[in-house]
């Protein structure tokens, strides 16, 4: 890939990935124009490329010029503490709301939730399946999101680790119950791990919780492995 070193320097320097991507694309296009100009001037292909690259500027000059533009830095680079400490709970809740919200909307659409009777069998099965899937998706997906942000910005591994641990500490586990001859009751547990209710829930659902924890750590393991392989 052209300008690989420059790309890495800029991402590590905190420049937002979208600006880095566009900068590299524009440099490639500019280099092509310069090379064409050199070929027209009578230089052979190899010479034209060398001259074009030289006129563009050294990697260091190109990096310094971009790093001086402080306003092009990403939020993950400017305030990683805000992104990786404050956002994880909101991200997990937002992803969870997609699952729960879908069930509630379906329930409301068919008017199951307001009636003084349990919802039909198909809705109960759907709800149980959706909630079970949510348990295996919410935290791993939220963790993957923060790992991806850290990977894109070449941040230290400690930041996605903090986000992952925070998610696991918050322990978001969903359960659904339908009481006979009563309205359907959907309960969502989001108790911090240090609370007794969380431990009780973990003991009751330990196979799911184990899978949940393993899947949540998977993106982080992947990133650590990838970095070790590259170094």
């Amino acid at each position: 890939m052209p300008f690989d070193n420059l790309r890495e320097t800029l991402l590590k320097g905190g420049i937002a990935p979208r600006h880095v991507r566009r900068y590299i694309a524009e440099l490639c296009e500019h280099q092509e124009d310069l090379a064409a100009q050199q070929r027209e001037a009578g230089h052979d292909e190899e010479d034209a490329l060398i001259r074009a690259r030289a006129r563009l500027g050294s990697d260091e000059e190109l990096a310094v010029a971009m790093l001086e533009q402080k306003q092009l830095r990403s939020w993950t680079a400017r305030a990683p503490w805000a992104v990786f400490l404050l956002l994880p709970p909101f991200a997990a809740i937002a992803i969870g709301m997609v699952f729960v919200g879908t069930l509630v909307l379906i329930g409301k659409y068919y008017d199951f939730l307001e009636k003084d009777a349990p919802p039909p069998q198909w809705f109960q099965i759907l709800a149980i399946d959706v909630v079970a899937a949510a348990n295996l998706v919410i935290m791993p997906l939220a963790a993957a999101l923060f790992v991806a942000m850290a990977a894109r910005q070449r941040l230290k591994l400690v930041w996605p680790l903090v986000a992952t641990l925070l998610l696991l500490t918050l322990f978001i586990h969903s359960d659904v119950n339908f009481l006979p001859r009563k309205t359907g009751q959907l309960t969502i547990g989001a108790a911090p791990i240090f609370m007794a209710s969380a431990w009780k829930m973990m003991a009751e659902h330990w196979p799911t919780v184990s899978a949940q924890y393993l899947l949540t750590f998977t993106p982080l393991f992947w990133l650590a492995h990838r970095r070790r392989a590259r170094s």
């Binding site: 694309a25 524009e26 296009e29 500027g57 010029a65 971009m66 306003q71």
Partner: protein, 112 residues
């Protein structure tokens, strides 16, 4: 946009804003135009024009769009209203500076 009072500050920015007043241009065109109009006296490192363009766009002075011309896709830049105001400010500042230097040199900038 931050104010920078170093001696040469704002000059490449002034050149870019001026060139984009009446037309949209892409990076390579801008560099060539600056070199041509200033007799290469003001020719920024060719690649370093892009961070300036990105910075100006981020501050709202320019806007960009990707456009395909003759089979090549390029990012074209145009001046915004905010950019036009910035150009007026920079032009005034450089006119004052030019006047001050002229006065200092006794009315002539000719090299003896």
């Amino acid at each position: 946009m931050t104010e920078d009072n170093s001696f040469m500050s704002g000059l490449p920015e002034l050149a870019i804003l001026r060139l984009l007043t009446n037309q949209e241009m892409y990076g390579y065109e801008i560099v060539q135009a600056i070199a041509a109009r200033t007799g290469a006296a003001l020719s920024p490192g060719e690649g370093v024009i892009y961070p300036l363009l990105h910075g100006l766009e981020k501050s709202g002075a320019l806007k960009s769009r990707r456009k395909s011309v003759s089979g090549r896709s390029r990012v074209y830049y145009t001046l915004t209203t905010k950019g036009a105001r910035r150009l007026t400010t920079l032009t005034t500042r450089w006119s004052e500076l030019h006047g001050a230097v002229l006065a200092l040199m006794g009315g002539s900038l000719a090299v003896r």
